[in-house]
């Protein structure tokens, strides 16, 4: 069973991550170390060239990692990104973006995660990222 429900994750982030909330980011699927999240298209996400901005995709990447990590270890709001590396592969369409994330390695203190971003309905990814989250010590540590 995943460490956090979709509802609990979406409620947490709606309250605690104002930027992601403004953009309408939400989780659609959370498993044990996996997640699928959505960024609804809107005009404020665009950049010159009529495409979605890099920072919007970086924010979605980080959001997907937060979801997959909590899917693995439960509600740990204080987990923080320590590194994120993203490659932009193709020009996104002016549609919703879907990010799929999975944990590559779950340690006691660090987790490494991988994210692939798609324009909804397309097979070819528009971006690919990896990142590291630092997991805070438990109260009992």
């Amino acid at each position: 069973m995943p460490g956090i429900s979709i509802e609990a994750f979406n409620q947490l982030t709606a309250m605690e991550l104002p930027l992601a909330a403004q953009n309408g980011c939400r989780a659609e699927k959370i498993g044990d170390g996996t997640a699928r999240v959505r960024l609804p298209f809107n005009d404020s996400l665009t950049r010159p060239g009529g495409t979605i901005s890099g920072p919007a995709m970086m924010a979605l990447t980080d959001y997907a990692m937060y979801a997959a990590l909590m899917g693995a270890i439960g509600e740990v709001a204080l987990a923080v990104t320590t590194n994120l590396n993203i490659n932009f592969l193709r020009k996104p369409e002016a549609v919703d973006m879907i990010a799929e994330c999975r944990v590559l390695k779950l340690g006691r203190r660090l987790a490494v995660l991988e994210v692939t971003i798609y324009s909804e309905g397309q097979d070819e990814p528009v971006a690919h990222a990896t990142g590291t989250y630092s997991i805070p010590p438990k109260q009992t540590d």
Copy 2:
């Protein structure tokens, strides 16, 4: 002389980068391949732990690179990020963030840039990033 003035850059991005504009990002200094940009603090940038969110810093990083690149090559709105790698070093203060960027390598088609982010008034950086921008071919190419 820098390839773009501070005023022209701020006007371009106010119109063409709605996310950055919403956050109040602006350039304060642009040189020939260098830039200093500011992200004014506001509550919507926060995340659990009372600190500034990673995605806000990633957006600022990308904005700083855009400024330094245009400082080197002039107004080329269609330049796009192809890779960005960021390390988060310290918990930012609840104050404005300043990003300093410089071009490490300027090629005809690719530029590699480095960004260091500070909490205003602090000496120790809160984040450090490198990235690559792809420069579109000139019309005459």
Copy 3:
């Protein structure tokens, strides 16, 4: 059909990449944008902790990308790495290492590739990397 045969790739790299040749790196499978390559275990690859050194895995990563790229575009010895990002996930065993690579995006001038490294016989990856290769213009360009 892959752009290069396993034999041609191994012969090219045996002659042109002395470091990889010394380490005994070789391709075992090359497809159209995919490759599996092997680094035979030997004592000179080790580091403190009785494990395989990071640089040995970085070299294997780069070698796997070179193979998958030529599998996609043919023998282009002058293709060069422009960026490589690697996360070390688990302590490798003192056995051969296998790297699996696939092209994430093939452009005319740049290719982005992903590599996963395993200790032979293990399911869990020991390292994961992404990288970018620059493809030289064709003589006719």
Copy 4:
């Protein structure tokens, strides 16, 4: 005072890092969180195009980080790289390479470091890298 002397570091790595030793890597300067290291040129480092191979520079990067980290925290042979990101900027000359490293952030468990690589005698860097080392807990932890 640096946490390790140049002599102690070179002796440790000559014995414990066979690959680096074969390549003739050595430290020339170690400070408190900084290091300058050298990779002597030799033909086995080359790759197609008559230039120094990427993996040779990655190995030098990792070596420089190991030196700067021990300059900061003392002889901790079991510190290991968890992430390394490198951008190749210019074609290196067929001469010795010099890597300059400094610690960007020293935590109790993680250190983030930055490396710039030069062809000896040249001003423009040939590569730039950042990476993270994991510091093992002390026996008394």
